[in-house]
């Protein structure tokens, strides 16, 4: 696929005219999916997808187009050139963009991570027997994902990786659930069966009758999977410099006044593990590590080159949306075995669900508890709790009410598949909170 990309990119570059600049990129996947319900197969199939994107700059005017490609170099060259013709036709009529970012020369990169994956036709037989006797709903996704880009200054990057994930929910007869994700790059049948059995063991905890707790403020432990969902919110009207400049960020207060989060809270972009490309769609390479919030203080935001030009700040080569691509939240001092003891009396939340800013400028997030959530007394689990709504501000729960974080940051893989199969994920610890507001 890399050879196809280089050939196609080169053919496109041969077409540029004087005063034109061009970015060409491809992305795609070959993914096998199996959807499960009741530990049986609901739907299954394979998706092969390949997209070519072209961004043309002529003078200070910009237009771009992308299209599905067939994988046939001759056909796809025709498609690409047709799109370039369409773009050229409209570009003169567009307004000038004073913040246009021109391509730059630089050091390219090529990283290909090969794995050992199950054959699609063998997948069901490998997965289902270990689920037997349980009610399981979930999705298997496996295969190669890839992306590359090239600009008219000759800079070129390529990244591909083989990954798989089985993301699933186990369900009791009383409709209580345990969530788990088995993800890696090399299939190991024995490791899978052990992991599945571990999840089934956890399900037994959910067989105890659930209790309903009243709305109010509770000492709370949120496990890494739940914290990961909160960290995701920082990529949506959070750490983006453009969002702050345009009055659309929960972190505006940290920029404009002395608002701070807890000393226990530190967040950075960290590409050192190589699970995601360090280059953005314009081929710019982000720093390997960039502290965003350090010990509660806003140290850096994510700044794309366009934002940098518009607001006269320095770029750190963020992507267009200025979201985190390799988030890493620092661990704290709480050991795994001390979580319940330190929580003492309160709620233990394994997962959260459907988060949204309820007051973005105020930093307030609402959402639901989901899956394995428990009431804890005297440092011991008493019973699962029925789902509760929370509505609280990051300036409270990641601020003065954050007591500690666990001493390990756990990897929570990105298993999203909206615009193609995701890769990478969020590293974060669990957090112990003095108080967390449950409202309904």
């Amino acid at each position: 696929m890399k050879n196809y990309f280089e050939s196609l990119g080169s053919r496109m570059m041969n077409e540029i005219k004087a005063n034109e600049h061009l970015f060409v990129s491809v992305n795609g996947e070959k993914s096998h999916f199996v959807r499960f319900n009741n530990a049986k197969v609901r739907q299954l199939g394979t998706v092969e997808d390949l997209n070519l994107s072209i961004k043309l700059i002529s003078g200070n005017k910009v237009s771009d187009g992308s299209m599905t490609c067939s994988g046939d170099l001759e056909d796809d060259t025709i498609r690409g050139l047709d799109e370039l013709t369409r773009i050229r036709k409209e570009i003169d009529s567009l307004p000038e963009d004073p913040f246009v970012i021109f391509p730059k020369a630089g050091d390219g990169s090529s990283n290909e991570y090969s794995g050992s994956l199950l054959e699609p036709s063998e997948t069901v037989e490998a997965l289902v027997p270990a689920m037997k006797g349980n009610d399981l709903s979930g999705i298997w996704a496996s295969g190669k994902v890839f992306c590359g880009n090239l600009n008219s200054k000759g800079l070129s990057h390529w990244f591909s990786t083989d990954t798989f994930s089985l993301d699933y929910s186990l369900v009791t007869s009383a409709k209580k659930m345990v969530k788990a994700t088995f993800a890696d790059t090399t299939w190991n049948q024995e490791a899978y069966e052990k992991y599945m059995n571990g999840s089934i063991d956890k399900l037994r905890l959910m067989e105890i009758d659930s209790i309903t707790i009243d709305p109010g403020s509770y000492r709370t432990y949120i496990a890494p999977a739940g914290v990961s969902d909160i960290i995701d919110m920082f990529s949506w009207g959070g750490v983006s410099e453009a969002s702050i400049q345009q009055g659309d960020s929960a972190l505006c207060k940290m920029r404009s006044s002395s608002a701070k989060l807890s000393n226990c809270f530190s967040l950075k972009e960290d590409f050192s593990r190589g699970t995601v490309p360090q280059f953005n769609s314009d081929g710019e390479v982000a720093p390997e590590s960039l502290p965003l919030i350090s010990r509660g203080s806003l140290e850096n935001t994510l700044v794309s080159s366009r934002t940098a030009k518009e607001y006269s700040v320095k770029s750190n080569f963020a992507g267009r949306g200025e979201g985190m691509r390799a988030p890493f939240m620092d661990p704290g001092g709480l050991s795994e075995e001390d979580i319940l003891k330190r929580l003492d009396r309160g709620v233990y939340l394994s997962n959260l669900h459907y988060l949204n800013w309820s007051d973005r400028i105020g930093g307030r997030i609402t959402g639901m508890t989901r899956y394995s959530c428990f009431w804890v007394e005297n440092g011991e689990i008493v019973a699962p709790i029925n789902d509760m709504r929370f509505d609280d501000s990051i300036y409270n729960f990641f601020g003065e009410n954050m007591e500690d974080a666990t001493n390990k940051s756990q990897f929570n893989p990105d298993i999203g598949t909206y615009d193609g199969r995701g890769f990478g994920g969020t590293f974060c610890p669990g957090v112990l909170l003095r108080s967390f507001e449950l409202t309904l």
Binding site: E90, P120, S137, V171, I361
Partner: protein
């Protein structure tokens, strides 16, 4: 060996134009050599164009064209698919063979053993209504209108950021199946999005209009009405800076149609999708508080509540002739006089659940298999005028335009926030309120419905961002509703 493209890549007019009429999908289907109980081919070409101006400068002039074939087979009672962007006889043959292999391998573990009954045979066409096509307004002219919209939004120095965008989607699909379906559907969707953010010290407010997506032509882009609308959005964004915080108390809630859209979507639509009730979605979007035996028995709302699945409303975003399983789409009552009577499930779900459903087995693109989606789900108009509703409220809040949404995985406990509100005191709209929110539980909320607005209060909205499914799919839905009043709701303000 190079495969021969089946689409007309070399036509004089545009080499990448897929002429759906010239492309004989049926002939390909007939030539396929696979041992399957049923085969379906769905060819989709969809082109999405965005033109965006922010703060007086172009932010995007971008187009994405998605094109490929979804090959579905049924073997031993199990469906399987292979989605390929390579539209050649060889690729489609290979895709069908591999899908058959998957289906055979999985058939001993099937959730349900289907027959071709779940893919009804239908033939027909559908086309969106329009007066002007995309090319009837030049890219330069659209940019010019969006620039003027930016100017109109910036009504004051207190406006710190403005945004205006136009999105146009041209979509054509052709579905053929081995049991005789042959369906062509052409869609034209046009939508606009406008917003203004105001700031005064640490107070920041935002006003938007972005869910007015419709099946319509480029005639939607009328400069005068855009400028008038943007002036209002900008003025209200400034007005909110000095508005009172929404009070925290239980009182009556009146929702405008643009917030009813979200209310219907989250607390009726998703709850009634039969695949959710059957548990398909439990690992992602969630389950439902509704059980299969609730159909025909559950009083979902007050007797004023009438909800329809209606793919026949001209211009509504998710109108269509047939779903992606080939079922003909007709208007059906889902909730009648408050009683739950029918589910939102396509043919597969109807067979599995034995609950009456609708034609809503839909996919977001050529590379996703169809699942139950809500499409157009509307609250039918009642008999109250807007003045009747407001004058009936002693103390309450009238809310417009969603800005925050969250609901649990069973679709029970929701919390929604709006951009703009008015206090209602003694039957009159009085002060403007900022940061209005409310929370409730679905069926008690709908049973508190006490007044339903008439046709004059009825408006049609739509969004392309309904997320669901594994693998994930974001799909178009439409929601139309009158203004509605709910009694004694928990209302509260911002941080």
């Amino acid at each position: 060996m190079r495969h021969h493209p089946l689409i007309n890549l070399n036509s004089q007019k545009n080499k990448y134009t897929i002429n759906m009429k010239n492309f004989n999908l049926k002939s390909i289907l007939n030539k396929l050599d696979v041992k399957a109980d049923w085969v379906g081919l769905r060819l989709l070409k969809e082109s999405t164009t965005w033109r965006v101006i922010r703060d007086g400068n172009p932010q995007a002039n971008t187009r994405h064209t998605s094109c490929g074939v979804m090959v579905e087979v049924l073997c031993n009672g199990q469906f399987a698919y292979f989605a390929t962007p390579s539209i050649t006889m060889e690729s489609i043959q290979s895709a069908a063979e591999r899908a058959c292999k998957y289906a055979h391998a999985a058939s001993r573990y099937s959730v349900h053993s289907f027959t071709s009954e779940s893919r009804p045979a239908n033939s027909g066409n559908y086309s969106s209504p329009y007066k002007m096509l995309q090319n009837d307004i030049s890219p330069g002219r659209i940019n010019e209108m969006m620039l003027k919209a930016n100017d109109a939004l910036k009504v004051s120095d207190k406006i710190v950021s403005v945004h205006a965008a136009t999105g146009v989607v041209e979509s054509s699909s052709h579905f053929v199946s081995s049991n005789g379906s042959d369906i062509n559907q052409d869609f034209l969707y046009v939508g606009t999005s406008f917003s203004a953010t105001s700031q005064d010290g640490n107070v920041i407010q935002k006003r938007t209009e972005e869910d007015k997506n419709q099946q319509v032509g480029m005639e939607l882009l009328d400069e005068n009405s855009i400028i008038e609308k943007c002036n209002t959005i900008g003025s209200q964004a400034v007005e909110l800076l000095d508005a009172d915080e929404c009070p925290t108390e239980k009182m009556d809630l009146v929702l405008d149609s643009d917030q009813m859209m979200l209310q219907i979507h989250e607390s009726i639509g998703h709850a009634l999708e039969i695949d959710r009730i059957l548990g398909d979605e439990r690992n992602y979007a969630g389950w439902s508080f509704v059980n299969l035996d609730d159909f025909g028995t559950l009083q979902y709302g007050s007797n004023l509540l009438n909800v329809t699945f209606d793919p026949t409303i001209s211009n509504e975003f998710a109108s269509y002739g047939y779903d992606d399983g080939g079922m003909k789409a007709d208007k059906e009552f889902i909730i009648k006089d408050g009683l739950l009577v029918r589910g939102l499930g396509g043919k597969e779900s109807q067979i599995r659940s034995k609950v009456p459903g609708v034609a809503n087995f839909r996919s977001s693109d050529w590379n996703r298999a169809p699942i139950d989606r809500m499409a157009n789900l509307n609250v039918e108009p009642g008999s109250s005028t807007f003045d009747d509703i407001i004058s009936s409220v002693e103390r309450g809040v009238f809310m417009q335009t969603n800005r925050s949404w969250s609901i649990d995985d069973y679709r029970n406990k929701f919390q929604f926030g709006c951009e703009y509100a008015k206090l209602i005191e003694n039957g009159k709209l009085t002060k403007t309120l900022k940061n209005p929110n409310y929370r409730a539980i679905s069926t008690p909320f709908w049973n508190s419905l006490s007044m339903v607005g008439n046709n004059d209060t009825f408006d049609v909205y739509g969004t392309p961002y309904c997320g669901k499914g594994e693998p994930n799919q974001s799909i178009r839905v439409g929601h139309a509703s009158p203004v509605c009043k709910f009694n004694d709701i928990e209302i509260f303000g911002g941080a």
